[in-house]
């Protein structure tokens, strides 16, 4: 049985003290152990930003890729070997900004992978510019008269695209978050977990206390997770009350199940047959 310790390494952690990423990291480790996965059975693909560094601070296979492109790399890995357990770590800027197109189409594609978006509503790595989820009117070093653009509502976007597993977690509740990650990994298909987290260095509006005042677990709302319309309404809620937990979950065939070319096992394990190729070429000369 794997243990939490198996997922620890001694690579120097570079997050700020008090960063919400620690809670997410803790929840991930717990979830992987609960999934009975050893580090060598897990592949993490991450983007760029503080979230993108996550796999360096865990023991696992990983590729820490480019800004916005984690989902594309992860999708390619799954095309090659759909038996891989793939988790993607991304951030609000990485996933909803630079990688917005990949986010949209990864949902449509519905490959069996779990996307964790570390959403601190700010750019941390580049020191405090507005992200796609930063509140309107918030003042930053660049948005010096306040943010003019409306924030994206990622869960509503996902729901509108037909996502089958849409959840919101909170880094201040690692236990609940861990359960969400497990549910996401259990789900056969694309699972989105948008994770609210404070940025202690650059976001002085959406603090730990700000989130704690607003979040409410959907299980306390008598919400039917198969009710798409109700999920959509919850996904649009924000200022007064922020629902967390699984907003929507519905089984449907994932990419691999639907793809006629993947029915004979992962491409990685398919045999190379030179004779078959030669025979095919022979046919062209007849």
């Amino acid at each position: 049985m794997p243990t939490i310790q198996d997922y620890s390494n001694n690579f120097e952690n570079k997050w700020c003290p008090g960063c919400g990423n620690f809670g997410i990291q803790q929840a991930m480790k717990k979830a992987f152990v609960a999934q009975n996965l050893s580090p060598h059975e897990l592949l993490i693909i991450s983007g760029i930003g503080q979230a993108g560094k996550t796999p360096h601070f865990l023991e696992c296979n990983f590729m820490h890729t480019l800004h916005g492109r984690a989902l594309a790399v992860a999708s390619g890995a799954k095309l090659a070997n759909h038996e891989l357990n793939v988790v993607v770590n991304s951030g609000d800027g990485d996933c909803y900004g630079e990688g917005g197109n990949h986010f949209i189409h990864a949902i449509r594609r519905n490959l069996d992978l779990t996307l964790l978006v570390h959403n601190n509503q700010i750019y941390g790595l580049t020191k405090g510019q507005a992200s796609p989820t930063t509140e309107e009117e918030m003042i930053t070093s660049i948005q010096s008269h306040g943010v003019l653009n409306r924030p994206i509502r990622p869960l509503a976007v996902a729901l509108s695209l037909g996502a089958g597993f849409v959840a919101r977690g909170f880094s201040g509740q690692p236990k609940e978050l861990s359960q969400l990650i497990q549910a996401g990994m259990d789900y056969k298909g694309f699972s989105l977990i948008d994770i609210l987290q404070p940025c202690v260095s650059f976001n002085h509006l959406n603090t730990m206390a700000w989130y704690k005042e607003r979040i409410v677990d959907v299980t306390s709302l008598e919400h039917d997770t198969q009710d798409h319309q109700a999920a959509f309404q919850l996904a649009m809620e924000w200022d007064e009350r922020i629902p967390t937990g699984i907003l929507f979950q519905q089984d449907e065939d994932d990419f691999t199940t639907r793809n006629p070319w993947l029915q004979d096992g992962p491409m990685l394990h398919r045999k190379y047959e030179a004779e078959k190729i030669r025979d095919y070429i022979d046919g062209l000369y007849k």
Partner: protein, 565 residues
Amino acid sequence: MATDLTVKIGGEAGQGIQTVGDLLCRVCRQAGYFFLAINDHESRVRGGHNFLQLRISDSPVLAPASQVDLLVDLDGITCEQHGDELKDNGLILCRPEQQPERDGVLAVDFTQLAEKAGDKATENTVAVAVCVALLGAGEELCRNVVAQFFARRDDLKEINLKAVQAGFACVSESGLKGWDLAWEEQQPGGALLNGAKTLALGAVAAGCRVGAFYPMSPATGIMAQLVQLAEHFPMVVEQAEDELAAVNMVTGSNFAGCRALTATSGGGFALMTEGMGLAAITETPLVIINAQRPGPATGLPTRTGQGDLLFTLHASQDEFPRFVLAPSTVADCFDTIQRAFHLADTYQVPVVVLVDHYLVSTSMLVSERLEVSPDAAPKAPPEPPDDPATYERFALTENGISPRLFPCQSQALVKATGNEHTPDGHVSEGRQNRNAMVEKRLAKLPAMKKEQRPPLLYHEEAEWLLVSWGSSYGMVREAVDILREQEFDIGMVHLVDMWPLPQEPLQGILSQHKWLLVEQNATGQLGWMLRAELGVEPQGSIFQYDGRPLEVERVVKQAAARIGG
């Protein structure tokens, strides 16, 4: 007398002149003739003026010809646009209402004959039959080819055979004398292929299992061929949301252990440069086909050029080793793409295969046998170390190549990052480590250079040489033949492996001969490379950048003028 005839068929987009060309190619193949067909079309789905030009010969065809023997006008403007290309003894085939005043015209009411055969849609088959009849072939041959073409659709087969009959009857009633070629059905002397097909087939031969792409002319045909091959071989092809996704998907597939391919054109390749850098620094094999078309930006979407050589050489920020390969012929595409996969894996570097619209879309009889290379099969990853914890994906080695394991296939953890990193794959900003990693990646170069095929040489002892690269091989070679017939002492040096530049015997030859650069761009990008790498200067240059296939006649004229003067 040697046979060398050119048929040009002009029509609107959507009229099906590609089918006419395809059927004529099949007739030629069935009769043992060599041929080469080029497509010239505008970037539109309907209307406009497109043409297909087919050269037929009893010896291998290297290039399209500029003079036309039989001009087929299906759109009413072909005669006007291409009349000056018609030889004096050439024939015109057109619709009755568009009949030009001259001898040697056969007006055919294609629509009426097609409707009589059972469907207006068989107009193209009528046109094929009339062409074949004028070229002197028997109806039986034409019937057999058409029957085979529609073998899976009995209803279509029947009416198309009637259309063949109508076409032949029309020619015999007209009394017009065409050509008297020796048409006899025989064992085909080769395969009917285009560059798109040989590239896709070569990828399959190399064990490519994943394709990801975003549609872009002229590269889409390559992926379409890959999709067709996926019906016969293990392969998954995914249409990505953009080229950024496509290139990163194939990097993800390669990282996971599967050979993967993407194909695009200049604009898409510009987007892929970011992902190319990720593959480079994570030392993940990557094969990209860049099917060039003229730019910048959207440029001429459906036309050809060689404007991306230097871009490809320098694509993506900072420095890293890469291969740039530019196959010379439709058959060479098959060998080159197999090598691309082999080299990408062996050296864990990006490989760009530079082709262009001309090479991808030109159909021809390939008489040489396509051989699956002994190096084609993907190799299994090395054994992980006894203690998996000691595995380092980027271990420093003398030749710069580190053992590449696949994630989740052993106890050893595979860690990679687009940041500069330590040998075990963790982010590092250390100065010594940075130097060591840059030097490790570049340490691959000496061995990479040795992999490069020398340029193709033809009469390289001559006083003058034409120096060219990639898809223009056939045209330049034909130009050399014509110039030699005109008693010019001329040969050619043709590069196919562009980068790393194979220095010998290039340096020796180019510094000891007078030479002219022949390129399909406006500034001489190969010339720039040769000057920078070898310090050699041409005595002149022949550039064509109008988006059309390189014209043999232009090369001949300009070379003769330069040498003669």
